[in-house]
Amino acid sequence: MQCPACQFENLPGLTECARCGSSLVLDTVSVEPPRAGRLHLATNVSRVRGRMGLAVASIAAPISPMTNRVLSWLRVQIPAPVSGRALAWSLLPGFGQLMCGRRRLGQILLGVWCLCVLLAMIFVSPGWSWFFLGLAVSAHATGILAVFATQLVFERILSRLLFGLVIYVVLMLVVYVPTTDLLATTIARPVQLNDIISTPALQRGDVILLTGSLFHDNQYKRGDVVAYLIPNVGGNGVVVNAGLSVDRIIGVPGDTVVINADAILVNGTPLPANQLPLGGRLYRADLTWQLGPDEYCILPSLLALHINPTARGASNMARDLLRDVGCVRLNEIQAPAWIRVRPWSRFGRLE
């Protein structure tokens, strides 16, 4: 059986040519060609598609050599590979460039980083600080990426983005988060007070700085304003939500604190006005604390104690609760409250 395409003489019984693969059994093949409709839709659509492809190619044609030219130029301009020295210096923002001859870029990166850190300190609050800190990390990451510019410039955009992201995350997790935590523990920590009753001393939304461990020695005296933890306690008609509260210490270990309808007496002496709780004298129930070692008396005057006066035994419950809450152990005191930083109009020391 001869192949009609290549004239090769095949063995009888074969359905395809052994040389060219053409079909040898054509009896069942349809010979009626497909026909177009009146509008020649498929042809026109294919033409439009082809024309669009040509248009895209004509746009891309001049861009492609231009890109190649730029890449070649960059190859000549940045011939040096990554140096270990630059990489080591780049752990300090901008120093990788400053120490390796690219002073202008280094200065810019260092300036941006310093500005961001400064702004983070000026706008000190949990939200804004992290925002500016994030920008500072970006500037730092850019400095490190610039060290790898020689390698990265020839990579695909996705690879470059991924590499940048990895650098950013590693910097954030390995350098900045631990450093920030260390600074917060040792120097100062901003806290925003959202769940308090507004008083002349502190208002809802204020941001205060708590002193770090470097500046206090866990020895508190009467009249100090401190941040302390309160437990989640409650009962019939009275609820106290757990959290951080700020108030003044009115009694120190060994003191006897008595509250009655007329005054707050510490060791039998009425408490002076500058040592009263920040929210004023709210509680007038008959209560007595005999403070043991490591026990301080702090009346939660800024807390919204939800007392339901109609509940049976509410006043008794409130008194019992106040007795519990008012006695604070040393390990529950976080730090002395230092200054009020926001709003700026009320910036000042908390006394």
């Binding site: 009609p4 053409s22 054509l26 093949v29 026909r35 042809t43 033409r47 040509l54």
Partner: protein
């Protein structure tokens, strides 16, 4: 008893019958092919397509008929279908140069000159050498907008297997890509070889009309009508040339300047 002998083979008689049938089939195929070619030479593409199909029904291995079908589909501006049909034919006859060439033509007309060039390359590398491949090559060059199209067309014309109709085919290709000057050149070459072909006169007239030489175009259409009276295509073309206003002529000239 007769049933027992009904399956006996009488070789001599069967061979004679088969020969006669084969001869009859060959004659039919030759006749259909000739009629298809004649219709093509007259510009009757639908009719030519029908005859190519009938020839294929007789002999499915007739590659010129497959090629003819694809060419007719292209001439009828059914390029998408032409591409599909050419691919199908190429699956049956793998690597056949002429089938690859017509496939390249169909794809070039679908604005995909890159693929068309690849197919044309394959066609040129395939065994054998036919003028159709050079024509397709020239068309691909025109579609890509590069030079050397005329050289390819000249190669097709100078090929030993080329007939007078090759010039008309090339002129039609050039017409499709709005290269009227080049088209006229090849139409005139065809006319020099076969001045009694009405379709060649018609194509030459269309080229003249496209170039704005309406008087020459009318003369050409008249020649076509002399050779084939009452030919609707020529009558329509002549009427169009007569009613062609100055703006349309100017527009054509401007369009041809690119």
């Amino acid at each position: 008893m007769t049933g027992r002998f009904s399956n006996l083979e009488f070789e001599h008689g069967r061979e004679q019958t088969q020969d006669a049938l084969g001869q009859q089939q060959d004659e039919l195929v030759t006749d259909f092919l000739a009629r298809a070619t004649a219709a093509y030479h007259l510009g009757e593409f639908e009719e030519a397509l029908r005859f190519y199909t009938r020839a294929l029904k007789e002999d499915r291995q007739l590659i010129p008929a497959w090629i003819g079908q694809v060419q007719m589909l292209i001439e009828l501006d059914e390029c998408h279908e032409a591409r599909v049909w050419a691919q199908r034919a190429e699956e049956l006859f793998r690597g056949h140069g002429d089938l690859l060439a017509v496939q390249a033509q169909a794809i070039a007309r679908l604005n995909d000159p890159k693929s068309a060039l690849a197919l044309s390359d394959a066609a040129m590398q395939a065994a054998g050498d036919m003028p159709l491949r050079w024509t397709a090559r020239g068309e691909v060059m025109l579609a890509r907008g590069v030079r050397y199209a005329a050289e390819c067309f000249d190669n097709a014309l100078n090929h030993p297997a080329a007939t007078w109709f090759e010039g008309v085919v090339i002129a039609r290709v050039c017409q499709y890509y709005s290269r009227a000057t080049l088209a006229l050149r090849y139409a005139q070459i065809a006319l020099r070889e076969m001045s009694t072909a009405p379709f060649a006169w018609l194509v030459a007239g269309e080229c003249e009309a496209a170039l704005g030489s309406l008087a020459s175009a009318r003369t050409n259409f008249d020649h076509a009508l002399e050779l084939r009276p009452n030919w609707p295509l020529a009558i329509a073309a002549r009427q169009q040339a007569e009613h062609s206003g100055i703006w349309r002529r100017l527009f054509r000239r401007l369009r041809l300047r690119r």
